[in-house]
Amino acid sequence: MNDVLLLIPSNRDAPNAAREAIGMAKARGGRLAVVAVLDPEVLDRVATTLSDVGFMGERVGEQVRETLWREYRTRAEHLAQGIAEQARREGVPAEAHVEEGDPGEICNRLVPQLRIGVAVLVAERRSWLTRLLSRATLRMPALAGCEVRVIEEEG
């Protein structure tokens, strides 16, 4: 149970969390699993906004959604691989994954599967304006027997 799981969002840099997770894996002598999560809820929210009156048909909205999904996946792969590379350069065995679904469920599934000791999660530091205007929430998954660390990142 020395391994560390780093769960990152698909389209935001997470340098603080990456540094912390790599440092912890190194200190514990464990491996680092970097998982970038594509949350369909984020895209559903975008699609709902786009289907507002005045927008052209559902097919156009679907095309935008597909474009975004491809883009988010590419960015997620790039981000996860970048952190895994950084970890390997620092002598920490690391692997990168991209998962689709609810971050809480993904975390719950991976913790026992990869025998994770510490899970490092990312919380976006939000300005008052963003907090006022967006409905993002911070999800804390249930991780029995696993230490959870939440690292704040700039929004």
Binding site: N16, E20, G54, R59, R75, R131, L132, R135, V148, I151
Partner: protein, 484 residues
Amino acid sequence: MMTHAPAPREFVVDTRPLWIILLARGWRLGFTVLGALLYWLILSAPTPEGLSPAGQKAMAVFALCVFFWVFDVLPLMITSLMAIVMIPLSGIMTTAQAYALFGNEAVFFILGAFILAAALMKTGLSTRIALAILARFGTTPRTLLVSVLVLNALMSFAMSEHAVAAMNFPIVLEIATVLGLSARRSRYGKALFLAMAWGTTIGGVATLLGGARAPLALGMLREATGKSFSFIEWSVAIFPLVIVMLAVCYVVITTFFPIDVESVQAADDALRERSMALGRMRYKERATSAVMLATFSGWVIGGEKFGLANIAIAAVVALFVLRIVSWREIEGYVNWGVLLMYGGAICLGAAINKSGAAEWIAQVTISRWATGGPSVVLIMSFLGILLTEAMSNSAVVALLMPVSLGIAHEFGMDPRVMALVVAVPAGLAFTLPIGTPANAIAYSSGHLSMRDLVVPGAVLAVASWLTFNLVANWYWPWLGISIR
């Protein structure tokens, strides 16, 4: 850094302020009850002096619909349908009169314009045009940015601005990827997505086709007064605003996000490659071009004689006769709910005007503050720009247009002016993702933070309000459109 002990089960921490969370939880039911209460209060109050009983009933229905539109209690089009039902049930009009208004010319003009835009997208002609223009002119960072801004504006002259943003979004995303522009970090990335969104917004007000707000306003104007604008008259009146705003938009974007890339050669190569890969124009693209050119010529030259809607629907028939598109291909590209929304809004507007409620609202509201035509234009355009940031553009027109016609009557103004004063500012949503789908698309790219959109967007909103009023005061009189 925050450290948490293992959690017993999943829980959610909502990061929004408490009052917003509370509002978000029970608002729909609460607002439905509040709306019904508002309707009942207006209906059961003693009839004010100067307002007829039919006007009072129309005002109750109007207040309920506006309340539902503003707070998004029901989908916009369902609120419109509710209006059509409530108008005859309240005894304001007969059922036949109310449903006949649904078949207004403006609704069919919008339908035709949407199907034509769908054909442009489905045949790939619009993408070909976009790629050709960007590959031709976007050779330096500055010219590429200008090309994205102007291209989106130009395309919004001919088709729905939302469709243009959706169509050009993958192209701008590809440019950002090829140039390696980091999401949220690259200033040039932010500038490109803002140019895409705001270009469509500014271009969307230039003609009757950009956002379908103008046909809605003209439909209400014609129902109430029998007057209207021709296709070309509308564009000529708005064109200086579009030119000035495109220039202002470029300055605002490059001031907030100075260009931070040296070369766009990689993007230029990618665009040329994609453009070349499309090959020669196919039959369907050539035929669509011909139909579009003929339709535009028809609107400009014979719009008044033959009717804008007739020309639009004839063009749609031509698309099918020439086998350019099939019904199956087209139906997914059209937002049919818009037609319901517009039909209901025109019906409600007519009920408000014909019952005398619009004039009464004008007397007890804006007439107390406004001193003449210019101040009416100043106030109404301000309201339009303010409301459109948080409401659907069409809902703003549906809300302000009937009242504006009453105001025009009160001040002895040309009622046609009010169509411009309501429909144009209602399209100028720059600051919030919810203001217009183009902003939402740009924001969803992940390149922009809320602040990136709100702060320069607010500057642009103020600039557009001032420019609009300058154009109304100094340019429209040259065209014979008096605001006094």
